[in-house]
Every structure is written in C-alpha cells, then in structure tokens.
C-alpha cells in the first residue's frame, strides 16, 4: 500500500490536519462498502477509525438500520469496535454489506 495515493488534494481540511502532529490516529485510507446489488459507497477514513463510524455513516446515508445489516470483510464479520488496521485492510479494500432475507416462497 502506498501512503501518498490516499491523500486528497481537494480536501483542504484534511490537508490542514496532515500538518498537525496526529501520529496516533493512523494514516488515511479509502474503504469501499458494497451492497448485494453491487452499489458502492466510498469512505475515506483513518486506519484506526472504528468500523462503527463507517457503519453509522453508511446506514445514515442509505437510510438503513445498522442492526439489520451484516458487514463482511475477507470472509469474516466485521465488528463495530474493530478498525481497518486490526483486520489488515488496505487502501481501496471492499467491505460487503449484506442483509438477511426471510422469504422462501
């Protein structure tokens, strides 16, 4: 993974943050959340950011309820209190967001 590719010149605020010493917050990466229909939503987060924040933002954006969704990465359920760093996520990696169906007709 490359650090440079993730910084976003359009984001002035982000750039301002870079200048401040925030070593403990981890480097920024892009995380993609993809639903079962193939629709993607891209997030820019720090590697240490808890997934809960991404999930919340995703649900808010999509008007969905978090407890009815399952987030999967690399064949495992992603837990809200984990961070991209903990699951060794790299820039541009995709989290699958799935929902359980209750039909069977």
């Amino acid at each position: 993974m490359s650090e440079g590719a993730t910084s976003d010149p359009a984001q002035a605020a982000e750039a301002a943050n870079e200048t401040q010493p925030k070593v403990e917050k981890g480097e920024p990466i892009n995380v993609v959340v993809k639903d079962q229909h193939g629709h993607e939503l891209h997030f820019k987060v720090r590697k240490t950011t808890k997934f809960e924040k991404i999930m919340k933002a995703y649900c808010e954006k999509k008007s969905l309820q978090m407890n009815q969704l399952r987030f999967l990465y690399d064949g495992e359920r992603v837990k809200p209190d984990q961070s991209p760093e903990e699951v060794e996520m790299e820039d541009g990696d995709v989290i699958d967001c799935v929902m359980q169906q209750i039909g069977g007709h």
Binding site: A5, E14, K53, A57, K61, R70, R77, V98, I102
Partner: protein
C-alpha cells in the same frame, strides 16, 4: 480434505443413515428435498402446513397442476419417491409450532434444515434447536438475494443473535389521511376499504374512526345516512351498480372533501382533489356482471397486466368489481379477506388504490405492480431457491462430517451492472452474542404506556408479534398469566377477563414503570425477562403501535438505574454511545452529488471518515479514484 470426503464410503453411509428434518416444502423446500435425495440422504422428515396453489407451479417443480389444493409436504414426498424410490420420507401436513414437534422430536435428528418463509416460524425452530442441541441450517430468499446460515449451539450465533428486518408497517394517519406513496394507497385499499366492504361487518375499522374524528372537529353537514358501518353494505333492493357508485361517491368525493377541511394537514402538503364520478364516466358503459368473466378488468377488456389504467378505466374497474362481488359472490360478502390469487380482489385493490392515488396526485400502478405490493411480493426466483438449497446441503454435509471449521455462511449477491450474475459471498459463522435474548442471557427493555396499553396489546403485539412467543406464561410479582393447553375453564375465564385491562391496573400490583416481567414459553423452552418503563407519548411516525422494544439490558441493576433516571434504552440501542469529541467519519460526495459536496455525518471539528462517492457510473471522477472490482 473436501471433496475427497464425499467420495469416502464411510461418509456415504453416514449421509444415507443421517436423519434430517426439512421444515417447509415451498420454494426452497422443493429444491432442498430434491437436492437432499440426489446427494444420498435417505431418512427425511418433511413438514409443511400449506396446500399447493396455482401460483406455486412456476417454481415449485415437484408440483403439477393436478396437485393444486393438496398438501405440499405429501405431494413433494410422493414426487421425489418416484425418481428415488429407495429413500424414506415422512411427510407431515402440519404447523411446526404444534406441540407434538417438541424438543424430544427435534432431538431425533442429526440436523435441522429450514426452508421457511416467515420470521415467526424461524424463531420457533431456532429456539427448539437450541433446546435440543441440534445444529440448524437456516436459509432465506427474496428475488435474486438469499443466504444460508449455520447455527450450532455455543459455537456460532443463533438465528436470533442478529436482528432481522420485519415487514414494514405504516403510520395509520398516513394511510388514512395523508398518503404520499403508491404503497400507502394500496395499503388503504387492502386493509381499510376492502374489509369494510367485503369483510367482517362487526369490526369497526379505522375508516369509521376517521369519519368520527372529522365530524367531531368540524361538526359539518353530516347527513344521518352516511353514518356507521352499515353505510358500506348494499341496501335491500339496491341495484349493484347504484351501490358501487354510492361507495365511490362516499370515498372519493365526500371523504376527500371532509379530509380537506382538516387544515392543519395541508399546511405543508398539497390537499387532495375529489373525483367527480359523473364527469369521469361521461358516456362510458359498465359491463353486465353476469357475463361469465370472474375478473372485472377482463370483462372490460383490460388484459394487459403491466399497463396502468387511466382514470376512467380505474373508475370502471372499481364499480365493476364491487358490482361483481355483490352479484356473483354474495355468499362470501362479510367473510372475505384479501387474497392475491383472487383476481377480482386484485382488480378492486388496483382500481381503488389508483383512484385514491389520482385524488392525491400520486403515481398509479399497473395491475401487476399493485398485486405485488398488496401481496408483499418480491417475485420469487426458482434459481435463487435452487442455489440456496444446494448451499444448505453443502453445509449439512460439513455438519455430518463434523467439520465445523469449514462451515460458511453464504450470501447471494446480485450485481445489476453485470446482467444479474449471481455471486456467492461466503464468510465464517460469527461467535454467539453473549447478550442474545435467546442463546445468551439478557433482558429486553420495553417502553410502553402502562396506563393505556392493555394486557392484550402486551400479549399480542409485544410477545407474539414481536417476540414470536407461542404460548406465553407471564409472571410479574404476584401476577400470573398463562396460555396453552391444560388450563381449567375457570383459569381461562380469569385470564381472558384480564386481557382488556391496562397493564398498570392488573391484579397483583400491576405492571408499571420499572417492573421486571418474566415471560416463559414451555412449547419453545424459552424464557426472557423484560424491563418495563412507562412512557406517555410515542412518535406515531416511528412507533405506530406505541411500543419500543429494545435489547439488551445488561443487568437488572443497570436497567433499574436507567429507568429511574432517564432513558433506559438510549445507551442500549445499537450499542452505540454517541460519538466522542473528535469525529472520524466524513462523506465526500456520493451518487447524485456532482462535485464534492462535503457531507458531515457527525458534529465536531475534526472529520475522519469521508464518503467518496458511489461508482459505478462515476468511475474515474473521484479524486484518487482507486477502485477495486471484485
């Protein structure tokens, strides 16, 4: 080790001697049964309550037209025996919730396979599997989507560790007065108007409540004849079309006029417009009711089910379907319930909801779409059921091989941009949730108005509808309420006399704020504790039935604390404490937003999660548009 294992003679023996229970013989069930026997399973029990309907035949391939009306379980078993005569299939036409299918019955199987179509039965089976300690392979489909989950007690999550999206309900005032979407009109036609005209006459529906409310507030020109549910019945000697026109004028002229007088509703909305029947019909004729057609739309020559009708066509179908009911099916009036396979009922619902939509300036629906909405139908796809069944059997083999490590939960995904290529998304089953109300130990928290909600509401809406209890026993202090077989007559009488009482007025001190209610169900070997807290008012939009039920309170003490101080649920919902001071999530643009509008998802100075937009349409337009295609 796979797939060599499956070729191993010892394992083949294991499969052929394994005892499996398949619950459901419908869409998934038919495919599952076929796949099971072709895989080598020889001892199968099959349970399904339903009988075969014509609409099943396009995807439930074990059934033929001649089987319509017969038991699904029986016919499926017979069909499979024809091409695999050496297997033993025991078919039950029964409800899985019957007491004879208790824990001991479940213990007789190596694995349980679910091919159900509703949440309630799934929860019931889940509880019994946990009680019996038998692995459960659970499945579900809807359209192109579906999944298979593996539930092994203590090793993986149970079915109820996670929440499931319940069917949507709508606030009653939206349905009654202020519809905004086509579905609101369909629900109105199906749940309010249809039962009022053709259903049980003794029940007062919300349609009448609306009338009272409006009259009460404006005391307008209420002519006596318009009052009461009897208005909606055909009068002695009244011509069927006169009757239908009278109904039309009532619901699309008078009722709309009334609702327009409720000024506060129309401050932010466009008020509806009455429909003038005379103007709409103009010189158009209406078909004879006795012309051999069972469907009103067909009698009118409207045979294209995907084409939406215009105003006049809707009005004619509306009148013709009412007239047809009273003339050709008079015996059923008063007992009818909406059935999506009843063409006349679908005609009526389509026309009635479209007319309402037209009055409110909402888009209308075709016969086909209205049928789908009224029947809550996502069109079932045989292929999805077949894939799902294959996955169920695959997981069942892993369970039999005792190779739990290989078990996977698989979600079907549908990538529309690739022409419905179906993909599988396997993941490991997750750990059980310690605070699951079923397999773990936790308490639920219930907010309800204890001074107005009755015991009946608690039993029906909370325990049975939300929590899928079958025969609940309720204990709270000295209060005891029981249901189920084996009760004496005087007990039954006493218990049912309590149902209309409000929670706080129940004997034995009542169920009030801070009460801990213990609810058990012997038929499911399941019990749960519910911490009740009183709340006066509910947001009708969010909680139309006046109930907020959330899990999971961690301990009695905490729940008590919370209910006495502030909001016991806030800190429990979603496990999400409100965000700390610094913010780590920023959305940077998304589909439909051109350029990069920065949308904050939290307050604070320092945003760290940024949404970078939604391809596929915009690939390349995002800064650093690095995309991964799976």
């Amino acid at each position: 080790m796979w797939p060599e294992v499956t070729a191993d003679p010892a394992f083949k023996d294991k499969v052929s001697s394994a005892r499996v229970l398949a619950v459901g013989a419908g869409g998934i069930g038919c495919e599952l049964l076929k796949t099971l026997v072709l895989t080598g399973f020889k001892n199968i029990e099959l349970i399904d309550l339903d009988t075969i309907e014509t609409s099943n035949l396009n995807r439930q391939f074990l059934f033929r037209k001649r089987h319509v009306g017969q038991s699904k379980a029986q016919v499926a078993a017979e069909a499979v025996l024809q091409f695999k005569p050496d297997v033993k299939i025991t078919a039950h036409q029964a409800n899985i919730k019957e007491l004879k299918f208790g824990v001991d019955y479940f213990k007789g199987f190596d694995v349980i396979l679910n091919g159900l179509d509703n949440l309630d039965a799934r929860r019931h089976v889940n509880r019994l599997c946990l009680a019996a300690g038998v692995p459960l392979i659970e499945s579900g489909t809807a359209g192109y989507l579906g999944q298979v989950n593996v539930h092994v007690k203590d090793l993986s999550r149970c079915f109820e560790c996670d929440e499931h999206a319940a069917p949507k309900t709508f606030p009653i005032c939206t349905i009654r007065n202020t519809p905004e979407k086509p579905i609101h009109c369909v629900v109105w036609a199906k749940d309010l108007l249809f039962p009022r005209l053709f259903g049980r006459q003794d029940a007062v529906t919300d349609l009448d409540e609306q009338r009272k409310e409006v009259n009460g507030s404006s005391s307008s020109q209420a002519d006596g004849a318009v009052q009461g549910p009897s208005f909606f019945l055909q009068k002695q000697g009244e011509n069927s079309y006169d009757y239908a026109k009278r109904i039309f004028r009532r619901v699309y002229e008078q009722d709309i006029e009334q609702v327009k007088t409720m000024d506060e509703l129309w401050k932010t909305r466009r008020p509806p417009q009455q429909l003038d029947l005379k103007e709409i019909l103009d010189q158009q004729t209406l078909p004879e009711t006795a012309n051999g057609y069972s469907s009103a739309s067909r009698a009118l020559g409207l045979t294209e089910s995907h084409k939406a009708w215009d105003l006049c066509e809707n009005a004619r179908v509306f009148l013709a379907s009412i007239a047809r009911y009273v003339d050709t099916r008079p015996d059923e009036i008063g007992t009818l319930v909406f059935d999506k396979d009843d063409d006349l009922a679908v005609d009526f619902i389509t026309a009635a909801s479209n007319l309402r939509a037209l009055a409110y300036g909402i888009p209308t629906q075709s016969h086909f779409d209205a049928k789908g909405m009224a029947g809550n139908i996502v069109h079932a796809i045989a292929t999805t059921n077949a894939i799902t069944s294959g996955l169920i059997v695959t997981e069942a083999l892993k369970i039999l091989a005792n190779d739990l490590d290989s078990c996977r939960e698989t979600y079907l995904t549908e990538y529309a941009e690739r022409k419905h290529v179906v993909m599988l998304n396997p993941s490991r089953p997750s750990q059980p949730k310690p605070d699951c109300m079923v397999c773990g130990c936790s308490m639920l928290s219930l907010k309800i108005n204890t001074t107005t909600a009755t015991l009946a509401t608690f039993v029906d809406k909370v325990l049975k509808s939300r929590l899928s209890f079958n025969m609940p026993t309720i204990m709270c202090g000295d209060f005891l309420y029981e249901e189920g077989d084996g009760l004496e007559d005087d007990e039954l009488e006493m218990y049912s006399s309590w149902l209309p009482k409000t929670l706080s007025a129940l004997p034995g001190g009542g169920i009030g704020n801070g009460a801990i209610v213990d609810v058990q169900d012997q038929s499911q070997h399941f019990s749960v504790k519910i911490v009740v807290s009183h709340q006066d008012n509910f947001d009708e939009e969010k909680h139309p039935d006046g109930v907020i039920l959330e899990g999971s309170a961690k301990s009695t003490r905490q729940a008590h604390h919370a209910s006495s101080s502030a909001n016991p649920v806030a800190e429990l919902s979603n496990g999400a404490q409100s965000c700390p001071d610094d913010n780590e999530v920023v959305i940077v643009g998304s589909k439909g937003i051109t350029g990069f509008k920065r949308a904050r998802c939290d307050e604070g100075d320092d945003d760290d999660v940024v949404i970078l937009g939604e391809p596929p349409a915009r690939v390349g337009t995002t800064p650093n548009g690095k995309r991964t295609r799976l």
